[in-house]
């Protein structure tokens, strides 16, 4: 996501303040381009009409570069700023991000699941009701990136008549930067300090956000001084204050948690959030991006390396869990958003494209949605990227829109799936259940594809299918070295699998151990009633996987005291995954046909299994040849 940081530097001279004389103080006031509801949210965040909004701003993005270093410019604060600070003055329609431009404005435009919307709405209503019991007025919204957490909260809060006040983490100040400015006696405060301060103030919400304090501050400079003293970073303090006097309720939004590194910092952040949840006096919504198991996780973008995956899992997984625990212990309501379903995302994409005057085929939209794996932000942005420079029709030009699916129209305006695909580089990760489903249901290609010329067939299948993943896998299957196939009875053969199991494993980014455990747990339900033989061989291969895995953990340790417990090498994991191929082949196909599946399975899986076992033979002599022997025995 592209965030635009606008740096606002205010200079406060001592004569502006009523207190004891002070030296100059520099406050960095970050203001981040809001996520989806940008152009609607801004009227809430910053009211251009309000008199209080005369914050001094140096907008780096506007064409005033000379101001950047004019520190001693006299009273920048006196310039009335009528434009919202974070939207650059002159921006063409094309330059605007679609994620901002087409952000949802009404409840109907939200693509989030209805239940979640209703949950948030009911929470907001509950907060509006006069509070009889002193329950916590904190809401924790978690979910993967780009699933519409912030949009939902903002849209609904606006509909319910809330003013949104947002806490932004301040721009990072490096320690040496601080030293450089060191003559000024600004105390150095870390972001965590500031967040702690914010939490402490939130306890007494009505004091600083209430109507009296801010509204009474007629002079903008004084108002700023207040702000600076508190070292708080609340957007639109004046607006919030004034609207408060008009009877609006205000809602505090914590969208961007300060970065916490190291256990001590984490502990602090967690405890601060817990305190916030327990003590907040006005509605607070904490929005936390979560890296769940759902697969749409940026942190897990490298599923191929198990060590890397595990590392990311460790660091990314525990902190949200800790925070969730602490905040819910504080009495907060917890609403968890799921990653956006591909169909929903695709619909939203089509709608966006329509508004832009582009015609997006359903397949392309689905493609795009699939690759973003539940992240609508990413999907829209990649759509914009791939549409850059494409000819487009005006939205109002109805003839162009209604031209139908004629070939001419397609070539002019319709985006094909390829266009979308090429621009998209995000790794696809599959959730555990999708991995299991693909393996256990073990879909086969249509029998017609089993002709002599396989690549030809694959191509024709590609056209009929929109599933990019399946296509990629099929290409892999087509490349199988046919010379290594064992001769077999053609009557026992089966069409090749629709998916390449190893690629599925790769995309799943799961540890071989857990995949084996999951497969073991679920496998028997997929066996036909009389398929004991197949179940037996499937379990046999699971046993092989287990042996390989335990060797991968034990073997390095005999070499030295180097501790191998945490580093199962990737080749072993793959080997284990490779031996898992067989369970699926044998277990699954029994349900379908009840043919001899061991042999059928050998068809596609055998060469690949050899491939993945070869790198491992030197390091673990006893096991690998045995497994190969098993494989050959099974296929023979």
């Amino acid at each position: 996501m592209v965030k635009k940081k606008v740096l606002a530097i205010s200079l406060l001279s001592s004569d502006e303040e009523s207190g004891p004389p002070r030296k100059k103080r520099i406050v960095k006031q970050p203001s981040r381009a809001k996520k989806p509801v940008q152009d609607t949210g801004k009227q809430l965040l910053l009211r251009p009409t309000s008199a209080g909004d005369s914050r001094p701003c140096l907008d780096f993005t506007s064409s005033q570069p000379s101001q950047t270093d004019s520190r001693d410019q006299p009273k920048a604060s006196q310039q009335p700023e009528t434009k919202p600070a974070h939207i650059p003055a002159a921006r063409g329609d094309h330059a605007q991000l679609w994620t901002e431009k087409h952000a949802p404005r009404t409840r109907d435009e939200l693509v989030v699941h209805k239940d979640k919307v209703a949950a948030v709405a009911s929470w907001l209503e509950q907060q509006a009701a006069p509070q009889t019991s002193r329950s916590s007025c904190c809401l924790l919204v978690t979910g993967p990136a780009g699933c519409g957490k912030t949009s939902t909260v903002e849209v609904l809060a606006r509909e319910a008549g809330y003013d949104i006040t947002e806490w932004h983490p301040p721009l990072p100040t490096l320690w040496h930067e601080h030293r450089y400015q060191g003559g000024l006696d600004v105390p150095y405060s870390s972001k965590m300090d500031e967040f702690d301060g914010f939490v402490a103030h939130a306890k007494m919400g009505s004091l600083h956000l209430g109507p009296s304090a801010a509204a009474a501050a007629g002079d903008a400079g004084t108002e700023l001084a207040h702000q600076a003293e508190r070292s708080m970073h609340l957007d639109a303090d004046p607006a919030g204050g004034q609207s408060g006097s008009r009877g609006h309720r205000s809602l505090m939004l914590v969208d961007d948690l300060p970065h916490a590194q190291g256990p001590a910092q984490r502990k602090r952040l967690v405890s601060a959030l817990g305190t916030l949840a327990a003590t907040a006096q006005q509605p607070v919504v904490i929005i936390m991006g979560e890296s769940g198991t759902s697969g749409s996780n940026k942190d897990k973008s490298a599923p191929s390396g198990p060590a890397a995956g595990a590392g990311a899992g460790n660091s990314a997984f525990s902190l949200p869990a800790e925070i969730t625990g602490a905040v819910t212990r504080g009495g907060a309501t917890h609403i968890q958003f799921n990653p956006l379903a591909d169909t929903f995302a695709a619909k939203a994409l089509v709608a966006v494209a329509e508004k832009e005057g582009l015609r997006l085929s359903k397949e392309a939209a689905k493609q795009c949605a699939l690759q973003a794996s539940g992240d609508l932000f990413h999907a829209i942005e990649s759509l914009q990227l791939s549409c850059a420079g494409k000819p487009r029709t005006k939205v109002q030009a109805s003839p162009a829109k209604k031209r139908g699916r004629g070939k001419a129209a397609n070539s002019a305006a319709q985006l094909s799936a390829e266009d979308v695909m090429h621009t998209n580089t995000r790794d696809i990760t599959l959730s555990i259940f999708r991995v299991l489903g693909k393996i256990l249901y073990n879909k086969r290609l249509h029998p017609s594809s089993q002709s002599s010329d396989q690549t030809q067939e694959h191509l024709s299948l590609d056209e009929s299918s929109s599933d990019h993943l399946a296509r990629g896998l099929r290409a892999l299957l087509g490349d199988v070295d046919t010379s290594r196939r064992l001769p077999m009875d053609p009557s026992l053969g089966r069409p090749p699998s629709e998916y390449n199991p190893e690629a599925i494993m790769l995309h799943g980014g799961l540890e071989a151990n857990s995949v084996a455990a999951f497969l073991h747990e679920n496998m028997l339900h997929f066996c036909g009633d009389d398929a004991v033989d197949e179940a037996a061989s499937a379990l046999h291969y699971l046993g092989d996987a287990d042996r390989l895995l335990s060797h991968s953990q034990a073997s390095p340790s005999s070499l030295s005291t180097w501790d191998a417990d945490e580093h199962p090498s990737s080749s072993f994991a793959e080997a284990a995954a490779g031996s898992l191929i067989f369970p699926e082949y044998s277990g699954l196909a029994t349900r379908g046909g009840g043919q001899c599946l061991r042999v059928g399975g050998g068809d596609a899986a055998l060469p690949q299994n050899h491939g993945c076992l070869e790198p491992l033979t030197p390091s673990s002599k006893p096991v690998a040849p045995q497994v190969v022997a098993h494989v050959e025995w099974a296929a023979a």
Binding site: C527, D529, V532
Partner: protein, 354 residues
Amino acid sequence: MLWIDKYRPKRLDKLILNQEIGDNLSKLVATGDCPHTLFYGPPGAGKKTLIVALLREIYGAGAEKIKVETKPWKIALPSRNIEVELTTLSSNYHVEMNPSDVGYQDRYVVQEIIKEMAKSRPLDMKGQRGFKVLVLNEVDRLSKEAQASLRRTMEKYSAACRLVMSCTNVSRVIEPVRSRCLCVRVAAPSTAEVQRMLAHVAKKESLSLPDSLSLRVAQASERNLRRALLMLETCRVAQYPFTPDQPVQLADWELYIQEIASDIMQEQSPKRLFQVRGKLYELLVNCLPPTLILRKLVLELLKKLDEEVQHTALALAAQYEHRMQEGQKAIYHLEAFVAKFMSEYKQWSIMAFG
């Protein structure tokens, strides 16, 4: 106090079973030194009794004053520090521990803790022996790495320390360790011997034990003296005076495994396999060792099988037990055995009965 503890012989010359071994051991101690020893034999044969009696023979009554200690050991490795919690039983003269309790970290226990203990010589206490004894139980459950480091420890610190080890399956102890020890086989008592012990205990408790009951208890115990005594005590609690036809209570896990065996024999299908899986899990969560489950299960199955299939069943059991040793998750292998057996049995019964 349970009878098994109450009537455990304390001294080598008071042994009732394994008298011969006891004599040899006391002769050995009388020479003034004692090699590393490895006692092996099935459970309930008297290994532990021998070890305790041997310690008493070496050090006198002082070896019976035992304190139990559980403490975390901090072990510094090159890359990180780990903490291992280990329970030790110790007297002034010996330390007893079960290093396989810590699972895959057992090699650190051997490398660090045992080395640490073995290194320090005992203070010379008024003409006592110049060595102390480390008693290690269940050495066969140690990983290969741990056993390999054990071998080094045995050589290096033999001046100050003797290892006395016990295990049930000597073939799981690596050859170098075995060759550095005096290996003592402690055979399971015969049924007659078990009966003799039962009569001995009954006499001491002044109970009248009918011969037929004692025979049935001895048979049900499968020549495991500990179990026999426990069963006798259970019978005593259930009903006294004893009647000759009194039922002998089997352990519930045995009944459960019998149930599994009959399940397997009734139907051979993935659905049934799934039910069996549930029962196997039940046994595993109750901390029954997987090898024991497999063994018992095969024995139960063998009772119900034709001779022809018995061979297959045994071969399969051997294969899957071996695989279980190599792997880590026993359930895969147990279940694979059951599935494979089902499949073989089904084929056989189709062939035999059409």
